[in-house]
């Protein structure tokens, strides 16, 4: 299942629709990086509200996405991690260190706008 990537001004929004396989996550990583380059995006929001499980592979891929995008001078924010998914991640010992997270899409957008308002 492909993850749709939406362009919203200077930002990109990727919304996870359902349970994603490793291949889906890898193609998301490729797609996001390509589009960040193509549109010269300043920020990326990855909405994981629908994600059923965040295991070691998924969290590593999200971290890699955020770090690659940072090397392009853009910022990533993960939004919508469900409380039970967050609980399982902590039990498993997973962290999203160095990656911004926000409650939902609205707060994610607010975070990016705040981040870039002084640069423009």
């Amino acid at each position: 299942m492909e993850v749709p990537i939406l362009k919203q001004g200077e930002f990109l929004i990727a919304t996870f629709q359902a349970a994603l396989s490793d291949q889906d996550l890898e193609s998301l990583r490729r797609g996001l990086l390509q589009q960040v380059v193509k549109f010269r995006s300043r920020g990326v929001i990855v909405d994981v509200t629908a994600m059923d499980v965040m295991d070691s592979f998924a969290s590593r891929t999200l971290r890699e996405i955020a770090h690659m995008i940072r090397l392009r001078g853009a910022e990533t924010v993960i939004v919508g991690i469900q409380p039970e998914v967050a609980f399982a991640m902590v039990q498993l010992g997973l962290t999203l260190e160095g990656v911004a997270a926000a409650l939902d899409l609205e707060e994610g957008l607010a975070y990016l706008i705040e981040k870039f308002k002084n640069i423009d």
Partner: protein
């Protein structure tokens, strides 16, 4: 109560998703909370991931179980892969030989209530974990 069982053959990363979804559904069916169902699904995901990473093929078996006072779920991950030489080392946080995060087994033990592992080099690995309904 008659135990309910499901088996998922693990051959690829797609099967990881199938296994954890079946596990979540089974957990929900016997009354696990959303939080516990997610913990179980996450543990299944890691166990299936280990199969794909180390043994390439294997199986996840799911079974409802009756305890003295409550129901639970048993998850057995088995494969005929290379096996684990040093189980104590594999159970330490941060240890991995596949370039993964190395959180798999110790993480799974934290997610579940009971954890058993049997493995021998060249003879595959069998991990059995249980979680009881609160």
């Amino acid at each position: 109560m008659n135990p309910r069982t499901a088996r998922v053959a693990i051959h690829s990363d797609q099967d990881i998703v199938v296994a954890r979804q079946k596990g979540r559904a089974l957990a929900a069916e016997i009354g696990f909370s959303a939080v516990d169902a997610t913990l179980i699904a996450t543990a299944i995901s890691e166990l299936a991931r280990n199969i794909v990473a180390y043994a390439r093929v294997g199986e996840i078996e799911l079974r409802t179980i009756d305890g003295p006072s409550r129901e639970g779920i048993l998850v057995i991950a088995s494969d005929d892969g290379p096996g684990i030489g040093d189980i104590r080392q594999a159970m330490r946080d941060g240890f991995s030989t596949s370039g993964s995060l190395g959180l798999g087994l110790p993480g799974v033990r934290r997610l579940m209530d009971e954890f058993e592992i049997a493995s021998q080099p060249g003879k595959g690995t069998r991990v059995a974990v249980k979680k009881w309904r609160q």
